[in-house]
Amino acid sequence: MKRIIALLLCLSMLFSLCACAGDKDNGKDTTSETEAETVDLSKYETKYPLTITDHLDREVVIEAKPEKLVSAYYISTSVVIALGLENKLVGIEAKADTRNIYKHAAPDIIELPSVGTAKNFDVEGCAALNPDLVIIPVKLSGVIEQLEALGITVLAVNPESSEELIQTIAMISKATDTFYRGSSVITEMTRALAKLGERISDVEEKPTVYLASNSALLSTAGAAMYQNTLIENAGCVNVAKDITDTYWAEVSYEQLLTWNPDYIVLASDSEYTVESVLVDENLAALDAVKNNRVIKLPGDIESWDSPVPGSFVGSLWLASQIHAKEYSVVECNSVMVKFYKEYYGFTPELFE
């Protein structure tokens, strides 16, 4: 619940912040639905040149509305699609063919030239695309100087938590003059989570969850990772919340047996199966295994355990599996379909 209040706070701060970036009027609350429909759209228009502070605390000046975009990170690419800007993309990150969301929402971008991975960026290849704006993750901060020397505008984003995801959506939408749509995406996310929070607020004993990473069962996410937020938003407790690692942490069978979680959740892109966990003799004594409570986060749409705009649906889905009485899968389906239809232009398959 605290987190949702924090989100709402963030949201309201954002509106006032972004309004300062060039607008005159910033007084009204725009979060309620009726107002959003009758709202004066000109208020959301971006005036260029625009100055934005990015996630590296750099002041980025965008001279004119960008027509050619490069996104070097799958999360920012997903944001770009949600903002309806996929046709403006001229280059994206490597391994685009492994992302299901592109296949559903923007199959054309898979064929776009690759500008490299988060570890290995192709500066020359990027420059050759002649982009107006390049969006990179802060991990790639090393290439900013080179790109700017070539006269390319760079926006560094760090979507690693829900707050940062919201800021990322706001930044990209403001920079590309799609702020109204960006705000609606954010509103949709926060509203759905707030509603879920209300439903499960009466649950007294929150079930414990162990989230296993994509790479291995004995690798999990501590409190500093986005996955922890996903679990908490779904009204559960992460058994690994005391781990301080900021990346996937290795644990032992013994540790897992000591935690004895109510549920074991496998990350969306895990290559090992629920069956392999259920038949693992070392885990046979776990309550989650005995009660057949090992589930895999769906990954057919996108990896909901990473901070993509649609990741809130991951929390809804998890809640529908664990708190079925309070939050039904039907409700989860309707929110999911509405969201992906509206912002990604396709109808996802329903969950049973």
Partner: protein, 325 residues
């Protein structure tokens, strides 16, 4: 007097190993008490027998294998820096593991098997290559080893480039740093049997191994079929190492440090030194594993501690040596 001294040394080392093993059996994330074990607490008993005990056994047997293999390599090549890695064992095993992580869904079994095959294949190719050269001596093995090692590194690099940075690359990196967190009775006992079975012939052949360390002509005169013997000994040492690393991932420094520690204690090369380097390896790996599972809330790579504990120890031994001289 000499025999007496060896006996004291041996009992001291065995005592140390015994206490380290006791600590290793007592430390872990799951609360296990002696009382609970005696009273027959089912869960405690199961954790102890299928996880805690196998993990300690892997550290002891694996450390022993790494130590003794290091000693064999240093003796056979008459080179204080020689190690199984030199002829491609670890790079072959890493390439095999990376291959399994990428193309065989990365299950414990497939990674173990692929790294075992990778390490063994690398060494066999090295030895065959060196045999293809006319005299097949020490130098040709080293050169062939360098070639195979670089080839395996290239394959590994290629596999890493192809890996998804979010998933597979992380697994490959973790594997290369070594860890005992996934060890259980089921996935380790076959390897440990192979390991013990390959270490035994090394002891039986210890006299011949010592002879190999002398000049080749001398060994030939003493009736040792030098090239054949070298081949056999290296294969057994390799088998011991690969069967260990295919369970634990790459463990650095044990194979280099243990023989030196042993040699500094006995001051010569004989079969007793071989035994001692194995025991030093066991102690080092067991202590490192205790640290790697108890210092943080998550598991830390074991290679960090083998180097962190091993390097100062080696420096201390050298320093002591110099002061005496």
């Amino acid at each position: 007097m000499k025999k007496y001294r060896n006996l004291v040394l041996l009992s001291a080392i065995i005592l140390l190993l015994f206490s380290v093993v006791c600590v290793s059996l007592a430390v872990g994330k799951f609360p296990i008490t002696v009382e609970g074990l005696i009273l027959g607490n089912e869960m405690m008993g199961r954790v102890f027998l299928t996880l805690r005990l196998p993990r300690t056994m892997v550290a002891v047997i694996g450390g022993f294998a790494l130590g003794i293999a290091g000693s064999v390599f240093q003796t056979v090549f008459h080179n204080p820096l020689a190690a199984p890695d030199m002829i491609g064992v670890s790079s072959g095993a890493s390439a095999g593991a990376a291959f399994a992580i990428l193309f065989a869904s990365g299950t414990v079994f497939s990674v173990g098997l692929a790294s075992f095959i990778g390490g063994l294949a690398a060494v066999i190719v090295t030895l065959l290559l060196s045999g293809a050269v006319k005299n097949g001596g020490k130098a040709s093995i080293v050169l062939a080893g360098i070639a195979v090692h670089s080839l395996c590194q290239t394959v590994l690099m290629f596999l890493k480039t192809a890996a998804d940075p979010e998933r597979e690359l992380a697994s490959i990196e973790y594997w290369i740093m070594g860890a005992l967190n996934g060890v259980s009775l089921k996935n380790s006992y076959v390897n440990m049997i192979i390991c013990v079975v390959s270490v035994l012939p090394i002891f039986l052949l210890s006299r011949q191994i010592i002879m190999l360390s002398n000049s080749e002509d001398e060994a030939k005169m003493l009736g040792v079929p030098v090239n054949k013997m070298r081949f056999v000994v290296l294969i057994f040492a390799t088998l011991a190492v690969t069967s260990t690393v295919s369970v634990t991932g790459i463990i650095s420094f044990v194979g280099l440090l243990a023989p030196h520690a042993a040699a500094l204690m006995t001051k010569k090369v004989d079969s007793f030194t071989l035994l001692l380097s194995g025991l030093c390896g066991s102690i080092l790996l067991t202590v490192a594993d205790v640290f790697s599972r108890s210092l943080a809330s998550s598991e830390l790579p074991v290679s960090i501690f083998t180097s962190l504990i091993g390097a100062p120890f080696l420096v201390w031994l050298l320093w002591r040596e110099r002061r005496r001289a």
